[in-house]
Protein backbone atom coordinates (compact mmCIF):
# COMPACT_ATOMS: atom_id res chain seq x y z
CA UNK A 1 0.00 0.00 0.00
CA UNK A 2 1.24 3.46 -0.96
CA UNK A 3 1.04 6.13 1.74
CA UNK A 4 2.53 9.44 2.82
CA UNK A 5 2.95 10.59 6.38
CA UNK A 6 3.52 14.14 7.61
CA UNK A 7 4.75 15.05 4.12
CA UNK A 8 6.24 18.41 3.15
CA UNK A 9 8.43 19.34 0.22
CA UNK A 10 10.41 22.38 -0.83
CA UNK A 11 12.37 22.79 -4.06
CA UNK A 12 14.87 25.08 -2.30
CA UNK A 13 16.13 25.13 1.25
CA UNK A 14 14.01 27.63 3.16
CA UNK A 15 11.68 28.04 0.15
CA UNK A 16 7.92 27.63 -0.03
CA UNK A 17 6.78 24.37 1.61
CA UNK A 18 4.26 22.26 -0.30
CA UNK A 19 1.73 19.76 1.13
CA UNK A 20 1.92 21.18 4.68
CA UNK A 21 2.45 17.90 6.51
CA UNK A 22 0.17 15.78 4.31
CA UNK A 23 -0.78 12.33 5.58
CA UNK A 24 -2.72 10.04 3.25
CA UNK A 25 -3.12 6.39 2.29
CA UNK A 26 -3.81 5.58 -1.35
CA UNK A 27 -6.24 2.72 -1.67
CA UNK A 28 -5.11 -0.23 -3.80
CA UNK A 29 -7.57 -1.05 -6.59
CA UNK A 30 -8.83 2.54 -6.71
CA UNK A 31 -8.14 5.55 -8.92
CA UNK A 32 -7.17 8.54 -6.80
CA UNK A 33 -7.27 11.94 -8.47
CA UNK A 34 -4.98 14.60 -7.01
CA UNK A 35 -6.33 18.05 -7.76
CA UNK A 36 -5.93 21.63 -6.70
CA UNK A 37 -5.04 25.04 -8.09
CA UNK A 38 -1.89 25.52 -10.13
CA UNK A 39 1.25 25.75 -8.00
CA UNK A 40 -0.07 23.60 -5.14
CA UNK A 41 2.23 20.71 -6.14
CA UNK A 42 0.05 18.12 -7.92
CA UNK A 43 2.86 17.02 -10.24
CA UNK A 44 5.44 17.46 -7.48
CA UNK A 45 3.47 15.07 -5.27
CA UNK A 46 3.61 12.50 -8.06
CA UNK A 47 7.39 12.91 -8.37
CA UNK A 48 7.74 12.53 -4.58
CA UNK A 49 5.52 9.41 -4.67
CA UNK A 50 7.60 8.20 -7.65
CA UNK A 51 10.79 8.58 -5.61
CA UNK A 52 12.29 11.13 -7.98
CA UNK A 53 12.17 13.83 -5.32
CA UNK A 54 12.94 13.43 -1.63
CA UNK A 55 10.57 15.05 0.90
CA UNK A 56 12.01 17.78 3.08
CA UNK A 57 9.89 16.39 5.91
CA UNK A 58 7.90 13.21 6.49
CA UNK A 59 8.08 10.03 4.43
CA UNK A 60 6.66 7.93 1.64
CA UNK A 61 5.91 4.31 2.49
CA UNK A 62 5.27 1.31 0.26
CA UNK A 63 3.90 -1.83 1.87
CA UNK A 64 4.58 -0.22 5.23
CA UNK A 65 8.28 0.46 4.59
CA UNK A 66 9.74 3.93 4.29
CA UNK A 67 11.21 4.34 0.82
CA UNK A 68 11.95 8.05 0.63
CA UNK A 69 15.37 7.78 2.27
CA UNK A 70 16.76 4.72 0.51
CA UNK A 71 19.69 5.05 -1.91
CA UNK A 72 19.28 6.48 -5.39
CA UNK A 73 20.06 3.11 -6.98
CA UNK A 74 17.48 1.34 -4.79
CA UNK A 75 14.90 3.99 -5.66
CA UNK A 76 15.66 3.53 -9.37
CA UNK A 77 15.19 -0.24 -9.06
CA UNK A 78 11.94 0.27 -7.18
CA UNK A 79 10.78 2.73 -9.82
CA UNK A 80 11.53 0.25 -12.60
CA UNK A 81 9.80 -2.69 -10.93
CA UNK A 82 7.02 -1.27 -8.76
CA UNK A 83 6.06 2.16 -10.11
CA UNK A 84 4.66 2.97 -13.54
CA UNK A 85 4.73 6.53 -14.91
CA UNK A 86 2.40 8.15 -17.42
CA UNK A 87 3.56 11.62 -18.45
CA UNK A 88 1.38 14.39 -19.86
CA UNK A 89 3.06 14.24 -23.29
CA UNK A 90 3.46 10.41 -23.33
CA UNK A 91 7.27 10.93 -23.58
CA UNK A 92 7.88 8.11 -26.05
CA UNK A 93 11.31 7.74 -27.61
CA UNK A 94 10.95 9.14 -31.12
CA UNK A 95 13.84 7.04 -32.43
CA UNK A 96 12.42 3.62 -31.58
CA UNK A 97 9.28 1.69 -32.39
CA UNK A 98 6.29 1.58 -30.04
CA UNK A 99 6.98 -1.91 -28.75
CA UNK A 100 10.55 -0.97 -27.82
CA UNK A 101 9.25 2.09 -25.96
CA UNK A 102 6.77 -0.05 -24.04
CA UNK A 103 9.37 -2.54 -22.82
CA UNK A 104 11.89 0.11 -21.63
CA UNK A 105 11.11 -0.10 -17.86
CA UNK A 106 11.22 -3.91 -18.00
CA UNK A 107 14.76 -3.77 -19.38
CA UNK A 108 15.81 -1.45 -16.53
CA UNK A 109 14.18 -3.91 -14.13
CA UNK A 110 16.43 -6.68 -15.46
CA UNK A 111 13.94 -8.57 -17.61
CA UNK A 112 15.18 -10.37 -20.69
CA UNK A 113 14.29 -8.71 -23.96
CA UNK A 114 12.22 -11.71 -25.03
CA UNK A 115 9.98 -11.80 -21.95
CA UNK A 116 9.65 -8.01 -22.02
CA UNK A 117 8.54 -8.04 -25.67
CA UNK A 118 6.05 -10.81 -25.01
CA UNK A 119 4.53 -8.85 -22.12
CA UNK A 120 4.59 -5.63 -24.17
CA UNK A 121 2.75 -7.18 -27.11
CA UNK A 122 0.06 -8.54 -24.78
CA UNK A 123 -0.48 -5.10 -23.24
CA UNK A 124 -0.64 -3.38 -26.64
CA UNK A 125 -3.22 -5.97 -27.68
CA UNK A 126 -5.19 -5.30 -24.51
CA UNK A 127 -5.15 -1.52 -25.15
CA UNK A 128 -6.12 -1.91 -28.81
CA UNK A 129 -2.90 -0.53 -30.26
CA UNK A 130 -1.14 -3.79 -31.18
CA UNK A 131 -1.32 -2.92 -34.87
CA UNK A 132 0.98 0.03 -34.17
CA UNK A 133 3.63 -2.01 -32.33
CA UNK A 134 6.22 -1.58 -35.06
CA UNK A 135 5.47 2.07 -35.82
CA UNK A 136 7.42 5.07 -34.59
CA UNK A 137 5.66 7.54 -32.19
CA UNK A 138 5.36 10.10 -34.98
CA UNK A 139 3.09 7.71 -36.86
CA UNK A 140 0.38 7.38 -34.20
CA UNK A 141 -2.23 9.75 -32.74
CA UNK A 142 -1.98 11.53 -29.38
CA UNK A 143 -4.63 9.26 -27.86
CA UNK A 144 -2.82 6.16 -29.10
CA UNK A 145 0.48 7.52 -27.79
CA UNK A 146 -1.05 8.01 -24.35
CA UNK A 147 -2.45 4.47 -24.37
CA UNK A 148 1.02 3.22 -25.33
CA UNK A 149 2.36 5.20 -22.35
CA UNK A 150 -0.14 3.36 -20.14
CA UNK A 151 1.14 0.06 -21.56
CA UNK A 152 4.69 1.15 -20.72
CA UNK A 153 3.59 2.00 -17.17
CA UNK A 154 2.08 -1.47 -16.81
CA UNK A 155 4.81 -3.54 -18.44
CA UNK A 156 6.58 -4.56 -15.21
CA UNK A 157 3.25 -5.27 -13.46
CA UNK A 158 3.86 -2.49 -10.90
CA UNK A 159 1.82 -1.99 -7.76
CA UNK A 160 1.54 1.77 -8.36
CA UNK A 161 0.70 3.81 -11.47
CA UNK A 162 1.38 7.56 -11.35
CA UNK A 163 -0.12 9.64 -14.15
CA UNK A 164 0.65 13.34 -14.56
CA UNK A 165 -2.19 15.12 -16.43
CA UNK A 166 -2.58 12.10 -18.76
CA UNK A 167 -5.61 13.64 -20.49
CA UNK A 168 -4.28 17.20 -20.59
CA UNK A 169 -3.44 17.17 -24.32
CA UNK A 170 -6.32 14.96 -25.49
CA UNK A 171 -9.81 15.52 -26.86
CA UNK A 172 -12.74 14.06 -24.99
CA UNK A 173 -12.88 10.74 -26.86
CA UNK A 174 -9.18 10.05 -26.39
CA UNK A 175 -9.32 11.22 -22.76
CA UNK A 176 -12.09 8.70 -22.15
CA UNK A 177 -9.99 5.97 -23.75
CA UNK A 178 -6.96 6.74 -21.58
CA UNK A 179 -8.98 7.03 -18.40
CA UNK A 180 -10.68 3.73 -19.23
CA UNK A 181 -7.26 2.15 -19.65
CA UNK A 182 -6.12 3.48 -16.27
CA UNK A 183 -9.33 2.41 -14.58
CA UNK A 184 -9.00 -1.01 -16.20
CA UNK A 185 -5.47 -1.20 -14.77
CA UNK A 186 -6.86 -0.96 -11.23
CA UNK A 187 -9.85 -3.23 -11.69
CA UNK A 188 -7.91 -5.98 -13.49
CA UNK A 189 -5.48 -5.95 -10.62
CA UNK A 190 -1.98 -7.29 -10.64
CA UNK A 191 -0.71 -10.66 -11.75
CA UNK A 192 -0.42 -11.66 -8.09
CA UNK A 193 -4.12 -10.89 -7.53
CA UNK A 194 -3.57 -7.75 -5.46
CA UNK A 195 -5.05 -4.37 -6.34
CA UNK A 196 -3.06 -1.72 -8.16
CA UNK A 197 -2.95 1.86 -6.90
CA UNK A 198 -3.50 4.52 -9.57
CA UNK A 199 -2.79 8.16 -8.74
CA UNK A 200 -3.64 10.82 -11.33
CA UNK A 201 -2.61 14.46 -11.01
CA UNK A 202 -5.29 16.40 -12.89
CA UNK A 203 -7.54 19.39 -13.09
CA UNK A 204 -9.70 17.78 -15.75
CA UNK A 205 -13.31 17.68 -14.43
CA UNK A 206 -13.97 14.58 -16.49
CA UNK A 207 -11.23 12.68 -14.68
CA UNK A 208 -12.31 14.03 -11.30
CA UNK A 209 -15.84 12.88 -12.01
CA UNK A 210 -14.76 9.32 -12.75
CA UNK A 211 -12.09 8.93 -10.05
CA UNK A 212 -12.80 6.67 -7.08
CA UNK A 213 -11.17 9.07 -4.64
CA UNK A 214 -10.13 12.72 -4.86
CA UNK A 215 -7.25 14.26 -2.91
CA UNK A 216 -7.46 18.04 -2.98
CA UNK A 217 -4.25 19.98 -2.31
Amino acid sequence: MLAVRDLSFSYTRGGEELFDGLTHQFTPGKVTAVTGPSGRGKSTLLYVLGLMLSPSQGEVTMSGESVSTISDAARSRLRAAEIGFVFQDAALDATRVILDSVIEPALYAGWSRREARSRGRALLEQMGVAARADHKPGEISGGQAQRVAVCRALVTDPSVILADEPTGNLDRDNAEGVLAALTQATSHGRDDGGGRTVVIATHDPFVLEHADEVLAL
Binding site: S43, Y47, G50, M52, L53, D72, A73, S76, R77, R79, A80, A81, I83, F85, F87, A91, D93, T95, R96, D100, E104, P105, L107, Y108, A109, G110, S112, R113, R152
Partner: protein, 366 residues
Protein backbone atom coordinates in the same frame (compact mmCIF):
# COMPACT_ATOMS: atom_id res chain seq x y z
CA UNK B 1 19.84 -4.03 -16.94
CA UNK B 2 21.63 -6.99 -18.42
CA UNK B 3 24.94 -6.39 -20.18
CA UNK B 4 23.77 -7.54 -23.61
CA UNK B 5 20.58 -5.50 -23.29
CA UNK B 6 22.69 -2.47 -22.35
CA UNK B 7 24.93 -3.06 -25.36
CA UNK B 8 21.90 -3.33 -27.61
CA UNK B 9 20.48 -0.12 -26.16
CA UNK B 10 23.82 1.62 -26.79
CA UNK B 11 23.91 0.29 -30.37
CA UNK B 12 20.34 1.36 -30.97
CA UNK B 13 20.98 4.87 -29.59
CA UNK B 14 24.24 5.12 -31.53
CA UNK B 15 22.47 4.24 -34.76
CA UNK B 16 19.53 6.54 -34.03
CA UNK B 17 21.72 9.61 -33.37
CA UNK B 18 23.80 9.62 -36.52
CA UNK B 19 25.29 13.11 -36.35
CA UNK B 20 27.09 12.78 -32.98
CA UNK B 21 28.00 9.21 -33.86
CA UNK B 22 29.60 10.32 -37.13
CA UNK B 23 31.36 13.21 -35.39
CA UNK B 24 32.88 10.99 -32.69
CA UNK B 25 33.96 8.41 -35.28
CA UNK B 26 35.44 11.13 -37.48
CA UNK B 27 37.32 12.76 -34.60
CA UNK B 28 38.82 9.47 -33.46
CA UNK B 29 39.73 8.61 -37.07
CA UNK B 30 41.47 11.99 -37.43
CA UNK B 31 43.29 11.42 -34.11
CA UNK B 32 44.59 8.06 -35.33
CA UNK B 33 45.46 9.17 -38.85
CA UNK B 34 47.20 12.33 -37.64
CA UNK B 35 49.16 10.42 -35.02
CA UNK B 36 50.31 7.81 -37.52
CA UNK B 37 51.19 10.39 -40.15
CA UNK B 38 53.11 12.64 -37.74
CA UNK B 39 54.26 10.78 -34.63
CA UNK B 40 54.73 7.58 -36.65
CA UNK B 41 56.86 9.50 -39.13
CA UNK B 42 58.87 10.99 -36.27
CA UNK B 43 59.45 7.51 -34.85
CA UNK B 44 60.59 6.32 -38.26
CA UNK B 45 62.89 9.35 -38.58
CA UNK B 46 64.34 8.58 -35.12
CA UNK B 47 65.04 5.04 -36.27
CA UNK B 48 66.71 6.30 -39.48
CA UNK B 49 68.90 8.76 -37.56
CA UNK B 50 69.92 6.01 -35.15
CA UNK B 51 70.83 3.71 -38.04
CA UNK B 52 72.84 6.43 -39.80
CA UNK B 53 74.74 7.34 -36.65
CA UNK B 54 75.35 3.65 -36.03
CA UNK B 55 76.81 3.40 -39.51
CA UNK B 56 78.89 6.50 -38.80
CA UNK B 57 80.38 4.72 -35.80
CA UNK B 58 78.39 5.76 -32.80
CA UNK B 59 78.84 2.21 -31.46
CA UNK B 60 82.37 1.50 -32.79
CA UNK B 61 85.37 1.74 -30.48
CA UNK B 62 88.83 1.20 -32.03
CA UNK B 63 91.91 0.85 -29.83
CA UNK B 64 95.20 0.73 -31.75
CA UNK B 65 98.53 -0.39 -30.34
CA UNK B 66 100.69 2.46 -31.67
CA UNK B 67 104.03 1.01 -30.52
CA UNK B 68 103.51 -2.61 -31.55
CA UNK B 69 103.76 -3.53 -27.91
CA UNK B 70 101.73 -6.75 -28.09
CA UNK B 71 98.97 -5.15 -26.01
CA UNK B 72 96.08 -6.61 -28.02
CA UNK B 73 96.54 -10.28 -27.45
CA UNK B 74 93.95 -12.97 -28.34
CA UNK B 75 93.16 -13.15 -24.61
CA UNK B 76 92.29 -9.42 -24.53
CA UNK B 77 90.07 -9.89 -27.60
CA UNK B 78 88.27 -12.80 -25.93
CA UNK B 79 87.84 -10.93 -22.64
CA UNK B 80 86.54 -7.85 -24.47
CA UNK B 81 84.03 -10.02 -26.33
CA UNK B 82 82.81 -11.30 -22.97
CA UNK B 83 81.93 -7.86 -21.60
CA UNK B 84 78.21 -7.26 -21.04
CA UNK B 85 78.40 -3.94 -22.94
CA UNK B 86 80.00 -5.55 -25.98
CA UNK B 87 78.07 -6.81 -28.99
CA UNK B 88 81.10 -7.81 -31.08
CA UNK B 89 84.89 -7.59 -30.70
CA UNK B 90 87.76 -8.67 -32.97
CA UNK B 91 91.47 -8.00 -33.23
CA UNK B 92 92.75 -6.77 -36.59
CA UNK B 93 96.29 -6.54 -37.89
CA UNK B 94 97.52 -3.76 -40.17
CA UNK B 95 96.32 -4.73 -43.67
CA UNK B 96 98.80 -6.00 -46.18
CA UNK B 97 98.67 -6.04 -49.97
CA UNK B 98 98.30 -9.38 -51.75
CA UNK B 99 98.16 -10.49 -55.37
CA UNK B 100 96.70 -13.54 -57.09
CA UNK B 101 99.37 -16.23 -56.80
CA UNK B 102 98.33 -17.64 -60.16
CA UNK B 103 99.26 -14.33 -61.80
CA UNK B 104 102.28 -13.55 -59.68
CA UNK B 105 103.81 -10.29 -58.43
CA UNK B 106 102.55 -8.37 -61.44
CA UNK B 107 98.92 -8.92 -60.50
CA UNK B 108 96.63 -6.29 -59.08
CA UNK B 109 97.27 -5.58 -55.42
CA UNK B 110 94.33 -5.82 -53.07
CA UNK B 111 94.28 -5.28 -49.30
CA UNK B 112 93.98 -8.18 -46.86
CA UNK B 113 93.05 -7.88 -43.20
CA UNK B 114 94.11 -10.51 -40.69
CA UNK B 115 91.33 -10.87 -38.14
CA UNK B 116 91.55 -12.54 -34.74
CA UNK B 117 88.23 -13.64 -33.30
CA UNK B 118 84.90 -14.93 -34.50
CA UNK B 119 84.84 -14.08 -38.22
CA UNK B 120 81.05 -14.37 -38.32
CA UNK B 121 80.97 -11.10 -36.35
CA UNK B 122 82.77 -9.34 -39.19
CA UNK B 123 81.41 -10.95 -42.33
CA UNK B 124 78.84 -13.28 -43.83
CA UNK B 125 80.11 -16.36 -45.64
CA UNK B 126 78.53 -16.44 -49.11
CA UNK B 127 80.46 -19.32 -50.73
CA UNK B 128 82.97 -21.99 -49.73
CA UNK B 129 83.80 -22.71 -46.11
CA UNK B 130 85.01 -20.89 -43.01
CA UNK B 131 88.82 -20.49 -43.15
CA UNK B 132 91.26 -22.20 -40.80
CA UNK B 133 94.07 -20.03 -39.36
CA UNK B 134 96.21 -18.74 -42.20
CA UNK B 135 93.47 -19.21 -44.82
CA UNK B 136 91.49 -16.40 -46.44
CA UNK B 137 88.06 -15.40 -47.73
CA UNK B 138 87.69 -13.01 -50.64
CA UNK B 139 84.98 -10.43 -51.29
CA UNK B 140 83.27 -10.04 -54.66
CA UNK B 141 85.20 -6.85 -55.35
CA UNK B 142 88.45 -8.44 -54.23
CA UNK B 143 87.81 -11.48 -56.41
CA UNK B 144 87.27 -9.26 -59.46
CA UNK B 145 90.37 -7.20 -58.71
CA UNK B 146 92.47 -10.33 -58.28
CA UNK B 147 91.12 -11.80 -61.52
CA UNK B 148 89.83 -14.96 -59.86
CA UNK B 149 87.04 -16.81 -61.66
CA UNK B 150 85.92 -18.47 -58.41
CA UNK B 151 86.59 -17.70 -54.75
CA UNK B 152 89.07 -20.54 -54.61
CA UNK B 153 92.82 -20.39 -55.10
CA UNK B 154 95.71 -18.67 -53.39
CA UNK B 155 97.12 -15.20 -52.87
CA UNK B 156 100.62 -14.10 -51.99
CA UNK B 157 102.07 -11.09 -50.21
CA UNK B 158 102.95 -8.28 -52.59
CA UNK B 159 105.80 -7.10 -50.38
CA UNK B 160 109.35 -7.48 -51.64
CA UNK B 161 110.63 -8.03 -48.11
CA UNK B 162 108.11 -10.55 -46.80
CA UNK B 163 107.04 -13.89 -48.20
CA UNK B 164 103.69 -15.53 -47.49
CA UNK B 165 100.92 -17.44 -49.22
CA UNK B 166 97.29 -17.76 -48.18
CA UNK B 167 94.76 -20.23 -49.52
CA UNK B 168 91.45 -18.69 -50.51
CA UNK B 169 88.63 -21.01 -49.38
CA UNK B 170 85.48 -18.99 -49.90
CA UNK B 171 83.73 -15.68 -50.44
CA UNK B 172 82.18 -13.15 -48.05
CA UNK B 173 80.25 -9.97 -47.73
CA UNK B 174 81.29 -7.69 -44.85
CA UNK B 175 78.99 -6.67 -42.00
CA UNK B 176 78.85 -3.07 -40.78
CA UNK B 177 80.99 -1.38 -39.55
CA UNK B 178 83.53 -3.50 -41.44
CA UNK B 179 82.35 -2.41 -44.88
CA UNK B 180 85.90 -1.45 -45.90
CA UNK B 181 86.76 -5.15 -46.11
CA UNK B 182 84.70 -5.38 -49.29
CA UNK B 183 87.81 -4.08 -51.06
CA UNK B 184 89.79 -7.28 -50.53
CA UNK B 185 90.34 -10.33 -48.36
CA UNK B 186 90.01 -11.37 -44.74
CA UNK B 187 92.58 -13.77 -43.35
CA UNK B 188 91.95 -15.84 -40.22
CA UNK B 189 94.68 -15.01 -37.69
CA UNK B 190 97.17 -17.63 -36.53
CA UNK B 191 96.68 -18.60 -32.87
CA UNK B 192 98.57 -16.53 -30.30
CA UNK B 193 99.49 -13.72 -32.66
CA UNK B 194 98.68 -10.26 -31.20
CA UNK B 195 96.67 -7.76 -33.20
CA UNK B 196 97.43 -4.14 -34.01
CA UNK B 197 93.91 -2.87 -33.39
CA UNK B 198 90.95 -3.92 -31.34
CA UNK B 199 87.55 -3.26 -32.96
CA UNK B 200 84.68 -3.24 -30.48
CA UNK B 201 81.01 -2.79 -31.37
CA UNK B 202 79.23 -1.83 -28.16
CA UNK B 203 75.73 -3.12 -27.50
CA UNK B 204 74.14 0.34 -27.64
CA UNK B 205 75.33 3.90 -27.97
CA UNK B 206 74.17 4.75 -24.47
CA UNK B 207 76.86 2.55 -22.92
CA UNK B 208 79.70 3.74 -25.16
CA UNK B 209 81.46 5.59 -22.36
CA UNK B 210 81.26 2.67 -19.93
CA UNK B 211 82.39 0.26 -22.65
CA UNK B 212 85.39 2.46 -23.47
CA UNK B 213 86.50 2.50 -19.84
CA UNK B 214 86.11 -1.26 -19.52
CA UNK B 215 88.00 -2.01 -22.75
CA UNK B 216 90.87 0.32 -21.88
CA UNK B 217 91.06 -1.43 -18.52
CA UNK B 218 91.52 -4.76 -20.30
CA UNK B 219 94.08 -3.45 -22.79
CA UNK B 220 95.94 -1.80 -19.87
CA UNK B 221 98.40 0.38 -21.84
CA UNK B 222 101.61 1.07 -19.90
CA UNK B 223 101.54 4.71 -21.02
CA UNK B 224 98.91 6.95 -22.50
CA UNK B 225 100.68 7.35 -25.82
CA UNK B 226 101.18 3.61 -26.33
CA UNK B 227 97.67 3.38 -27.75
CA UNK B 228 95.34 5.53 -29.81
CA UNK B 229 91.62 5.44 -29.32
CA UNK B 230 88.90 6.15 -31.86
CA UNK B 231 86.10 6.87 -29.44
CA UNK B 232 82.35 6.54 -30.18
CA UNK B 233 81.42 8.60 -27.12
CA UNK B 234 80.90 11.95 -28.87
CA UNK B 235 78.77 10.38 -31.62
CA UNK B 236 76.87 8.34 -29.05
CA UNK B 237 76.10 11.48 -27.06
CA UNK B 238 74.93 13.19 -30.23
CA UNK B 239 72.72 10.18 -31.02
CA UNK B 240 71.26 10.25 -27.52
CA UNK B 241 70.54 13.96 -27.84
CA UNK B 242 68.92 13.59 -31.25
CA UNK B 243 66.87 10.59 -30.08
CA UNK B 244 65.85 12.49 -26.94
CA UNK B 245 64.82 15.56 -28.94
CA UNK B 246 62.86 13.49 -31.47
CA UNK B 247 61.30 11.44 -28.68
CA UNK B 248 60.24 14.57 -26.79
CA UNK B 249 58.88 16.08 -29.99
CA UNK B 250 56.98 12.85 -30.75
CA UNK B 251 55.52 12.61 -27.25
CA UNK B 252 54.50 16.28 -27.29
CA UNK B 253 52.90 15.83 -30.68
CA UNK B 254 51.09 12.67 -29.52
CA UNK B 255 49.80 14.37 -26.38
CA UNK B 256 48.74 17.39 -28.43
CA UNK B 257 46.84 15.32 -30.98
CA UNK B 258 45.20 13.09 -28.36
CA UNK B 259 44.44 16.02 -26.05
CA UNK B 260 42.88 18.15 -28.76
CA UNK B 261 40.93 15.18 -30.10
CA UNK B 262 39.71 14.20 -26.65
CA UNK B 263 38.59 17.75 -25.95
CA UNK B 264 36.58 17.86 -29.18
CA UNK B 265 35.04 14.45 -28.44
CA UNK B 266 34.10 15.69 -24.96
CA UNK B 267 32.39 18.73 -26.49
CA UNK B 268 30.46 16.54 -28.96
CA UNK B 269 29.40 14.12 -26.21
CA UNK B 270 28.38 16.97 -23.89
CA UNK B 271 26.36 18.60 -26.67
CA UNK B 272 24.73 15.25 -27.38
CA UNK B 273 23.90 14.79 -23.70
CA UNK B 274 22.37 18.27 -23.54
CA UNK B 275 20.32 17.69 -26.69
CA UNK B 276 19.14 14.33 -25.36
CA UNK B 277 18.49 15.49 -21.78
CA UNK B 278 14.76 14.73 -22.10
CA UNK B 279 15.56 11.21 -23.28
CA UNK B 280 17.98 10.67 -20.39
CA UNK B 281 15.51 12.18 -17.90
CA UNK B 282 12.79 9.86 -19.16
CA UNK B 283 15.10 6.88 -18.75
CA UNK B 284 15.85 7.89 -15.14
CA UNK B 285 12.12 8.37 -14.44
CA UNK B 286 11.39 4.92 -15.85
CA UNK B 287 13.94 3.24 -13.61
CA UNK B 288 17.41 3.58 -15.15
CA UNK B 289 20.05 3.94 -12.45
CA UNK B 290 22.79 6.53 -12.62
CA UNK B 291 25.21 3.69 -13.41
CA UNK B 292 23.09 2.67 -16.41
CA UNK B 293 23.05 6.24 -17.76
CA UNK B 294 26.81 6.47 -17.25
CA UNK B 295 27.37 3.16 -19.02
CA UNK B 296 25.00 4.09 -21.85
CA UNK B 297 26.72 7.41 -22.57
CA UNK B 298 30.18 5.84 -22.42
CA UNK B 299 29.20 2.83 -24.55
CA UNK B 300 27.54 5.22 -26.96
CA UNK B 301 30.95 6.95 -27.33
CA UNK B 302 32.96 3.74 -27.37
CA UNK B 303 31.14 2.19 -30.33
CA UNK B 304 31.76 5.00 -32.86
CA UNK B 305 35.25 5.45 -31.39
CA UNK B 306 36.07 1.83 -32.28
CA UNK B 307 34.79 2.42 -35.79
CA UNK B 308 36.79 5.65 -36.05
CA UNK B 309 39.90 3.91 -34.71
CA UNK B 310 39.74 1.26 -37.43
CA UNK B 311 39.10 3.87 -40.11
CA UNK B 312 41.87 6.14 -38.80
CA UNK B 313 44.42 3.33 -38.78
CA UNK B 314 43.58 2.54 -42.40
CA UNK B 315 43.93 6.15 -43.53
CA UNK B 316 46.97 6.78 -41.31
CA UNK B 317 48.85 3.75 -42.66
CA UNK B 318 48.03 4.83 -46.20
CA UNK B 319 49.37 8.33 -45.48
CA UNK B 320 52.46 6.94 -43.74
CA UNK B 321 53.15 4.64 -46.69
CA UNK B 322 53.10 7.64 -49.01
CA UNK B 323 55.85 9.21 -46.87
CA UNK B 324 57.69 5.87 -46.93
CA UNK B 325 57.59 5.79 -43.11
CA UNK B 326 55.34 2.86 -42.23
CA UNK B 327 55.30 2.42 -38.46
CA UNK B 328 55.32 -1.09 -36.97
CA UNK B 329 51.91 -2.74 -36.35
CA UNK B 330 52.38 -2.46 -32.59
CA UNK B 331 52.61 1.31 -32.95
CA UNK B 332 49.46 1.39 -35.11
CA UNK B 333 47.52 -0.79 -32.69
CA UNK B 334 48.79 1.24 -29.74
CA UNK B 335 47.76 4.47 -31.45
CA UNK B 336 44.23 3.18 -32.10
CA UNK B 337 43.94 1.95 -28.51
CA UNK B 338 45.15 5.29 -27.13
CA UNK B 339 42.76 7.24 -29.35
CA UNK B 340 39.80 5.09 -28.31
CA UNK B 341 40.79 5.31 -24.64
CA UNK B 342 41.16 9.09 -24.93
CA UNK B 343 37.70 9.32 -26.51
CA UNK B 344 36.16 7.14 -23.80
CA UNK B 345 37.95 9.05 -21.03
CA UNK B 346 36.70 12.32 -22.48
CA UNK B 347 33.14 10.98 -22.37
CA UNK B 348 33.29 10.28 -18.63
CA UNK B 349 32.65 13.86 -17.48
CA UNK B 350 29.68 14.44 -19.82
CA UNK B 351 28.38 10.99 -18.81
CA UNK B 352 28.66 11.89 -15.12
CA UNK B 353 26.90 15.16 -15.86
CA UNK B 354 24.09 13.23 -17.58
CA UNK B 355 23.83 10.67 -14.80
CA UNK B 356 23.61 13.21 -12.01
CA UNK B 357 21.03 15.56 -13.58
CA UNK B 358 17.79 15.86 -11.66
CA UNK B 359 15.27 13.96 -13.85
CA UNK B 360 12.35 16.06 -12.58
CA UNK B 361 14.00 19.32 -13.55
CA UNK B 362 14.87 17.87 -16.96
CA UNK B 363 11.36 16.49 -17.56
CA UNK B 364 9.66 19.71 -16.54
CA UNK B 365 11.92 21.95 -18.65
CA UNK B 366 10.07 22.79 -21.88
Amino acid sequence: MRFLVLLREALSTTWANKVPTALVALLVAIMCATTLATVGRTAAAEQQVAERLDAAGSRLLVVTDTRGGDLITPAVVTQTRGLSVTERAVGVQIPVDVTNKAIGAGGTRVPAWTVDGDLSEVLTLTAGRWPHPGEALVSTTGQESLGMDDPVGAVQLASSTQVGDYSVVGAFTPKEPFGAYEAGLVIAAEPGVPSDSLYVVVSESGVASAAQSAVLGLVAPPEFDSISVQSPVALAELQAEVAGDLGTFGRTLLLGVLGAGALLVAIVVLADVLVRRKDLGRRRALGATRGMILALVIARTLLPALLGGALGIGVGLWLASRFDALPPWQFSLGTATLAVLAAVASAILPALYAATRDPVRVLRTP
